[in-house]
């Protein structure tokens, strides 16, 4: 590892610099939405006018005709008839003028309404990403709650949380030999840190402390929240592309003609629309992805610097990075949806694509760069020590071959939309609200294998039909009618077998019950969710109202 140590940099300066950079990038990301939303809305407005508005000719044309018809030869004779016609002409043109003004007004209104609706979609995307529970991320990568063997790691995490002034996050363990870690959770009080078994085995005490400090810093910097904002922007700009892909897939699967444009119009249509297609399907998503990756990288540097400040021992994190880098934790089977969460990038692509886009689209900076920046805080670390650590990592990787089906397998479907639409094959935890028998078969007449009483926790698997497949906490499997009311619980499927976790969930349930009884507001929605829903409702209502106002009369 050829790492040259430049002038030592104060860790405070580095932190300030990284924060400035993130703010700058977030502003750019927000600016990137403006032409997208504006263009879409303006297009929609033009379409509406062409379809429903008054037919008007261009202003220049109108002027020309008006000039032509109202100019007379000088000294020409004017009679009664002439002046009558003049008046009528002027009235006609006044009407035309009015029509143009109407159109302009309509254009503004439609643009505004459409832009608000599109922004509402962005809000809904953010909402659904933000309210997706942490447990789904954990279930996605097969994490389990940490047990007695991880007491040392939990102790380190607790101490670091004291140092950062944060509530101690829960520790989860992923049974994967690849050394990696991530932090998740929208706010510090509900955050979790997950580490792989490989990381716990590979790293010693001080190195593990460095990695955990890095993850704690992510929690302290509210990086999950920032990531969710940026991810929803990126997803929003990719939405036309994803929807189009989905449409094409479905049409092809159905065997139908996938293109709605009649074949003789296709070539001119494509040529006319090419710049728009290029922008909507290619430039906007690419820009969003590049900005998102840049923000993610800058937050990684920031978390590294914060970790160095928190432990006052950059060497631990340095050695950990060298080991993980030597081990080469980049594996192909990783889940791209949660790649940005990890300690080191698990989703590095191979081949030519990575040469082209690797450095621009990587969510993590190369480990060598991170090491170099950390060395700036603490130049006293001998290179030989890092080389030794990298060798240890390499040896570890040789002894522990990565099993791609273990741990980080991709269970989320083939694109980002899958995360919203597909069910979880691992099941989700629900609280049953009224007592019900559990049947042996999806049939009311079959044998009853167990009885669930109100308040019991069940793992429910997605099963279209009149019955749900359920698993009780004592591992009884059976079927339950779809009509039984249930409530989603933010828990991992594996956790319902653990009495302590069940008790904790019951406690949360009681609190929620008490709160909602006091507030007496229905729906089980939080204030923010209600606000977003109400806002969206108002936007849609306003749209319909304007449309009725405009087109109902004419």
């Amino acid at each position: 590892m050829a790492t040259t140590v430049t002038q030592p940099v104060l860790v405070y300066d580095r932190i300030a610099q990284n924060q400035r950079k993130s703010i700058f990038l977030v502003i750019i990301a927000i600016l990137a939405i403006v032409p997208f939303v504006g263009g879409l809305s303006y297009g929609a407005a033009e379409y509406t006018i062409a379809r429903f508005g008054h037919h008007v000719m261009s202003k220049a044309e109108e002027q020309r005709i008006y000039q032509l018809m109202t100019t007379r030869e000088p000294g020409a004779l004017r009679d009664e008839y002439d002046s009558e016609m003049d008046r009528e002409l002027k009235q006609e043109f006044a009407k035309l003028q009015q029509a143009r003004e109407d159109n302009d007004q309509l254009r503004w209104k439609v643009t505004t309404v459409f832009a608000l609706a599109v922004l509402g979609v962005l809000g809904l995307l953010f909402w659904s990403l933000a309210s997706s529970p942490v447990s789904s991320v954990l279930a996605m990568c097969g994490a389990r709650p940490s047990g007695p063997p991880e007491a040392e790691a939990r102790r380190l995490l607790e101490n670091l949380a004291i140092g950062a002034g944060l509530p101690t996050p829960k520790l989860y363990v992923i049974d994967s030999p690849l050394p990696n870690a991530f932090a998740a959770g929208m706010d510090p009080s509900r955050s979790v840190v997950a580490v792989t078994q490989g990381l716990l085995t590979l790293l010693d005490h001080r190195e593990l402390e460095g990695v955990l400090a890095h993850e704690i810093s992510h929690i302290g910097n509210r990086d999950t929240r920032l990531n969710t904002v940026v991810t929803s922007i990126a997803l929003f700009l990719r939405l036309p592309y994803l929807l189009r892909q989905k449409y094409l897939r479905e049409q092809r699967a159905a065997g139908g003609d996938w293109n709605p444009i009649p074949s003789r119009f296709r070539a001119p249509y494509t040529i006319v629309m090419l710049p728009i297609f290029l922008y909507v399907f290619f430039v906007a998503p690419l820009v969003a992805a590049v900005i998102r990756a840049a923000i993610s990288r800058s937050r990684e540097y920031l978390a590294d610097a914060d970790a160095a400040l928190l432990t006052r021992y950059p060497e631990g994190l340095l050695r950990a990075l060298a080991k993980v880098g030597g081990c080469g934790s980049a594996n192909s089977g990783a889940n791209s949806v949660i790649a940005h969460l990890y300690f080191s990038d698990p989703a590095r692509q191979g081949g030519l694509m990575s040469l082209l886009t690797g450095s621009l689209l990587a969510t993590h900076p190369p480990i060598e760069h991170r090491i170099k920046r950390l060395m700036e805080f603490n130049g006293g670390v001998p290179i030989s020590l890092l080389e030794e650590a990298a060798r240890t990592g390499k040896a570890f990787a040789k002894n522990h071959p990565a099993l791609t089906q273990l741990g980080m397998a991709d269970t989320s479907g083939h694109d980002e939309l899958g995360a919203f639409t597909s069910g979880s094959p691992m099941g989700r935890v629900f609280r049953i609200l009224s007592a019900s028998p559990i049947y042996d078969e999806p049939d009311m007449k079959s044998r009853v294998v167990a009885r669930a009483s109100a308040g019991d926790l069940l793992v429910v698997f997605d099963d279209p039909g009149k019955f749900r497949q359920v698993l009780t906490h004592d591992s009884t499997f059976g079927y339950m009618p779809n009509t039984i009311k249930m409530k989603r619980v933010d828990m991992m499927p594996a956790e319902i077998h653990d009495p302590a976790a069940r008790a904790a969930a019951a406690e949360v349930h009681e609190q929620v019950q008490a709160v909602s009884a006091a507030a007496a507001s229905g729906g089980g929605l939080t204030g923010t969710q209600l606000a977003i829903t109400a806002g969206f409702g108002i936007v849609v209502f306003a749209g319909i109202f304007f449309a009725l106002l405009k087109f109902g009369g004419s």
Binding site: N159, G163, R312
Partner: protein, 201 residues
């Protein structure tokens, strides 16, 4: 419509000119309020961080009687060390404020170091499971104190910087925001404590 526009045009500049001082005053008041609230928040955070250290110091002090008892079971004749540890613990319990507590804590660390040095002379004690557990708990608490101290010092630094720099210093002067001391053992204070202990023993 034209009438309304005329009205606006005629009165707008005059109204605006009349409103400028009010708007400026309102902005100034809002700014001052937010500045004051920031100072208060910073001070509360510092106090909260201090209570974090206090909790850990108490936890450490509560471990000591057990530890001393265990060591006494094996090493019965080391009275000087035991009384030194007891005195240090008493001093820590009495100490108030970051500087005094830090000094007392440093003093206790020294006394415990002596106790551990004594314990090393007794292999049977070293082998006792109880002793090993107490030792690991003690070292964990010491680590927690170190982290809590770091969190406190960062907060104290932020707070002190805020009340010393413009424009926070004006409000800090008006409302008596006092700078806080860092939690660190001042060598001179440390010496004093040791001398006073020597006199007592």
């Amino acid at each position: 419509m034209p009438f309304f526009v005329c009205l606006l045009q005629s009165t707008l500049p005059a109204t605006m000119a009349a409103m400028v001082p009010f708007v400026l005053a309102a902005l100034f008041i809002l700014f001052s309020i937010s500045l004051y609230n920031n100072l208060v928040r910073s001070r509360v955070r510092t106090r909260e961080a201090w209570s974090g250290i206090d909790v850990q110091l108490k936890r450490r002090a509560s471990l000591i009687p057990n530890l001393v008892q265990t060591v006494q079971g094996y090493a019965t004749h080391e009275h000087a060390v035991f009384s030194e540890v007891a005195a240090a613990r008493g001093a820590l319990a009495k100490a108030t404020g970051p500087a005094a507590s830090a000094a007392a804590d440093g003093f206790l660390t020294q006394a415990l170091g002596k106790l551990m040095a004594v314990a090393e002379a007794y292999p049977a004690l070293q082998a006792a499971a109880n002793f090993a557990q107490l030792q690991s708990e003690l070292s964990d608490t010491e680590e927690k104190i170190a982290y809590a101290r770091q969190f406190y010092n960062v907060n104290a630094m932020n707070y002190n910087t805020r009340i010393a720099s413009f424009p926070g210093n004006i409000l800090a002067g008006m409302f008596r925001f006092e700078p806080v001391t860092f939690f660190e053992a001042d060598p001179s204070v440390h010496q004093d404590v040791q001398v006073s202990f020597a006199a007592k023993a």
